[in-house]
């Protein structure tokens, strides 16, 4: 698995797409991330990450409905593909394995 081509921000965005399915689009993702992290996240950054993810085939998109807030423009809705899901899973397993190998004394020191 080409782990290296999933950046940290991309990973978070990909996860959020999975969380918000089937209503994931730039604005909702950015707001969700702002809530979760407490930091400002611009839609531009999210949009760029989504474009990259789509290029890599981890997400697919389709145009959704238009709303008044958007000035009558349609939104682009994203869903995680099977490939995307597998990648997420892989990443999670790598992390889990590593977590499990940390000696309890060390985690005690952090808390």
């Amino acid at each position: 698995m080409r782990r290296s081509d999933l950046g940290e921000f991309e990973e978070v965005v990909l996860l959020t797409v999975a969380v918000l399915a089937p209503h994931a689009y730039s604005v909702s993702i950015a707001e969700e991330l702002e809530q979760e992290t407490g930091q400002t996240v611009s839609t531009g950054a999210v949009h760029a990450a989504l474009q990259r993810l789509e290029q890599k085939g981890y997400v697919t998109s389709l145009l959704g409905e238009a709303t008044a807030e958007r000035g009558g423009r349609r939104k682009r809705l994203f869903t995680v593909t099977a490939l995307g899901g597998r990648v997420l899973n892989d990443v999670r397993q790598v992390r889990n394995r590593l977590w499990e190998r940390i000696v309890p004394q060390v985690t005690l020191k952090w808390s």
């Binding site: 604005v27 531009g44 939104k75």
Partner: protein, 872 residues
């Protein structure tokens, strides 16, 4: 929704983003941005949201958003070799199919280009005059302005001490040299005797003017008895032998040694007639007059050339030397103001008016330059007119090309390439025409120009110019034709709008305006020449012959020579004079009479003649009597001309006393004689008897003997008196005729160009007429069926064109009046601009235009209507 869309906080920023972002991303990006803004302004307030809007917007500025999605359809490749080949194929097919049009286009353009080429060469030659001299930009000649009673004249003659004064007291000069005017001298080596023209100069002259020495060194003129020959003269005397140290006899008097040979000067140099150079010292040694005036500041009969050091400008130095004479004691009343005339201006700026440079030949450089541009323009106009006129013919082709996938760029390229093909063919033809016309052109323009085959600039300019012509001439049809809509064209509803012919008409009017102006111009030039020719010259020029007394043997035999010549029966009168009758040198202000206004310095032309001069040249005595041997007192008698009489203001001139050196009694008044420019008023002049101050023999041949027979007899007499010199003579009427040569040259050149302009205009008109006739062929057919007469049809077809030419006449009349009036102001003695010239030129132009159009009109009108109507 619309209202919400307009609620954008930063419309400008939106617009910028909208343009920046690729079209396929615009909707989502702009939507996201606006949604975020709306939500934020509800949650965080308007101000905060606006700030964030900016930051958010800027995060979208990245290449992945800007990059446009590639077009999924293949674009047409504009320069595919197959299509290029096709364009040229079609171009040649069109040329061959419409031979008439092709001929008019190519021939017209080629003529226009050839004219532009010739004029270009001429202008180039004029501008490069004297440039072969290495110190071109630092050489100057000393001139002076003199003031004769309020009128300021300019002369390039200065006194001898000037050269030394400049050399020793003014550090701005690197070198100066005295020089005589170019004069004819008989040179003899062994049996060969040739009259050659040359100058007596100081040694510095050779380096100053950068004469190229082929043999001997540049300082070979330091000895008194030396001479430099030009290459051609050296060859004429010595052939292939080495000319150095050979002996040459000058003027049948002095032996000199050849110490140098220089390369012949180019034809466009001020010194092109300087075929030999001899030392100034030699000139002084052989001439008593010069010896006497070596230190005279008021004997203005010599030339001084100077080379400036690097740095000082001629104007600055002129200011310094201006008052050289006025600062010395006894300044003359004509107040000489010296100045430097730089070599750059010797050829093109030779006229002075009221102490200022008033141009000169440069006027004609501009004039002919303008004519060249206009003639070329006329040719381009033909090209454009014919191409647009024929556009309807090719509309279907454009329609079909467009329907099978041609894009506009291809069509533009196609039509431009067609016009390039035509202009390139025309360029090659123009080269040929120019080459063929050059000998003729050189002769009337008095030039030695040739096509600069080896000059890259010539080719660059020529080819660049043809491409430019092709671009200009081809751009209108290219842009116009390629804009047709295929559906309209192919459905057959395409009709060029009424106004498409307007630019065409304007161009025809322009062409004929230029042509008519040129016609009026040449008529006026020739009328001016004729006007001056018709002016009474005041003497009899026919069979009057002059001989320059350039050897000592001819002097001091006056009576004997005269009697011998009269005895041959070939000569009816004989006289000697100081200077030729066709010229006038030697003015004086040293003259006074009873009643002269004090302190005025009018200039009088002083002439020394023998008793028989009047009878020989046939002057017309209108008051008093001619000189006569019967009165011994005539040695101090004076004959004045009408102009002098007017200036002196005598009521009864006979018997009045005039002082000029000594006292003279006026014994007669003669009619004014034109000895200088026939376009200027005659100067006041007087004639006195002096047998010693003569240098020209004039005699009148007996009319009953043939000229050649008479001259044979005369030659025999001269052989007896002057065996060493070749018998060289000139006919006064020929020399007199040369006074008009400048004007005649301009007239001939202008006529030549005007003729071409008219031919080109008519070619264009011919093409247009044939096009119109073809276009209206069905209409004509129907009219004929319904009973229209040939005359009626002719009138219908010709009327439009005649109107255009008429308009052109009305436009050109004021233009030509203005230009010609300006030109005629150059002449003191000038013809009037009569109204009939304008009418004649206009009628002529209309007649030519009608003749051109009529051929096509009548052909169309005579056509059998069955032929034109039966198709379809």
């Amino acid at each position: 929704m619309k209202t919400l869309k307009n609620k954008s906080p930063f419309p400008r920023l939106d617009e910028f983003l909208h343009r920046l972002v690729a079209p396929h991303l615009r909707e989502e990006i702009m939507g996201d941005l606006h949604e975020r803004y709306q939500r934020r302004s509800q949650r965080l307030g308007e101000t905060n949201a606006r700030q964030r809007y900016w930051r958010d917007a800027l995060t979208y500025v990245r290449w992945s958003n800007i990059k446009r999605k590639p077009n999924p359809y293949p674009t047409t490749y504009l320069y595919s070799p197959t299509m290029l080949r096709n364009y040229f194929k079609i171009a040649f097919r069109n040329l061959l199919k419409y031979k008439g049009y092709s001929f008019i286009n190519i021939f017209g353009l080629a003529t226009g280009m050839a004219v532009a080429m010739l004029i270009g060469l001429w202008v180039w030659d004029e501008l490069s005059f004297n440039k072969s001299h290495k110190n071109y930009d630092r050489i100057a000649q000393v001139w002076q302005f003199v003031n004769f009673d309020g009128t300021i004249s300019s002369y390039n003659s200065v006194p001898i001490p000037m050269a030394e004064e400049l050399r020793s007291k003014y550090p701005d000069f690197q070198a100066t040299s005295l020089s005589t005017y170019t004069r004819d001298v008989i040179l003899a080596a062994g049996d060969k005797k040739l009259t050659k023209s040359g100058n007596y100069v100081q040694p510095a002259f050779v380096d100053m003017m950068s004469f190229k020495m082929l043999a001997g060194s540049a300082d070979g003129l330091k000895d008194v008895h030396t001479i430099f020959l030009s290459e051609s003269v050296a060859k004429a005397f010595f052939g292939t032998e080495n000319p150095l140290n050979k002996i040459i006899r000058m003027g049948n008097k002095t032996d000199v040694k050849v110490t140098g040979v220089y390369e012949d000067l180019p034809y466009n140099s001020a010194f092109r007639d300087v075929l030999f150079l001899a030392p100034w010292e030699l000139f002084v040694a052989n001439d008593a007059y010069v010896k006497r005036v070596l230190d005279e500041w008021d004997e203005n009969s010599f030339q001084v050339f100077a080379q400036l050091k690097e740095g000082p400008s001629p104007e600055a130095v002129s200011a310094k030397i201006k008052n050289i004479r006025m600062k010395r004691k006894d300044p003359p009343g004509y107040k000489p103001a010296f100045f430097l005339h730089p070599m750059e201006q010797w050829h093109l700026y030779t006229d002075f008016k009221d102490g200022k440079n008033a141009g000169g030949i440069v006027y004609f450089v501009w004039l002919f330059g303008a004519i060249g541009v206009f003639v070329l323009l006329l040719a381009c106009i033909n090209f454009m007119n014919l191409s647009t006129a024929r556009s309807e013919k090719r509309a279907k082709e454009v329609g079909i090309r467009k329907s099978v996938g041609s894009v506009r760029g291809q069509l533009i390229f196609q039509f431009l390439s067609e016009s390039f093909v035509i202009t390139l063919i025309a360029f090659v033809l123009a080269l040929l025409f120019a080459q063929l016309a050059l000998p003729f052109f050189n002769e009337i323009a008095d030039k030695r120009v040739s096509i600069l085959w080896a000059n890259p600039w010539f080719w660059l300019l020529g080819l660049g110019f043809s491409l430019l012509t092709g671009l200009i001439a081809g751009s209108y049809p290219a842009l116009y034709l390629s804009s047709f809509q295929p559906i309209k064209v192919l459905k057959g509803t395409f009709k060029a709008s009424r106004f498409t012919s307007v630019p065409r008409k304007v161009l025809v009017v322009f062409q004929f305006t230029v042509s008519v102006t040129l016609i009026i111009g040449i008529i006026t030039v020739f009328r001016q020449i004729q006007h001056a020719k018709d002016r009474p010259s005041g003497y009899e020029r026919s069979s009057l012959v002059e001989i320059n007394m350039n050897t000592p043997e001819l002097y001091a035999h006056y009576e004997a020579l005269r009697n011998d010549l009269l005895n041959t029966g070939a000569v009816v009168e004989f006289a000697e004079s100081g200077g030729s009758i066709t010229n006038q040198y030697g003015g004086t202000t040293n003259i006074s009479w009873k009643g002269k206004t004090p302190n005025t310095q009018p200039l009088f032309m002083a002439n020394q003649v023998t008793h028989d001069f009047g009878k020989t040249v046939g002057w017309k005595v209108i008051e008093g009597r001619d000189f006569s041997r019967k009165f011994s007192t005539d040695s101090s008698a004076m004959i004045i001309n009408e102009a002098a009489l007017k200036l002196m203001g005598f009521k009864n001139p006979i018997g009045e006393i005039v002082r000029s050196g000594k006292e003279y009694k006026v014994i007669g008044v003669i009619k004014n004689m034109i000895r200088q420019s026939p376009f200027e008023p005659v100067n006041a002049a007087f004639y006195t008897i002096n047998y010693n101050a003569v240098n020209t023999i004039s005699f009148k041949l007996a009319p009953q003997l043939g000229t050649s027979k008479a001259l044979d007899k005369v030659a025999g007499v001269f052989k007896k008196y002057n065996p060493e010199a070749p018998f060289e003579y000139s006919f006064v009427d020929e020399v007199y005729g040369r006074k008009f040569s400048d004007e005649e040259r301009i007239g001939k050149l202008a006529a030549f160009f005007a003729l071409l302009a008219i031919i080109i205009s008519c070619l264009g008109l011919f093409g247009l007429a044939s096009f119109i006739a073809e276009q209206r062929i069905k209409e004509i057919g129907i009219r004929k069926v319904l009973g229209a007469s040939v005359a009626g049809l002719w009138q219908m077809l010709s009327k439009d064109f005649a109107l255009l030419v008429l308009i052109a006449c009305f436009i050109s009349a004021p233009i030509s009046y203005y230009l010609l009036n300006d030109w005629l102001q150059h002449y003191e003695y000038r013809t009037e601009l009569s109204w009939w010239v304008f009418v004649a030129a206009g009628l002529g132009a209309i007649a030519i235009a009608l003749l051109t159009v009529s051929y096509q009109a009548i052909r169309a009108a005579l056509m059998n209507p069955i032929k034109s109507l039966k198709t379809e």
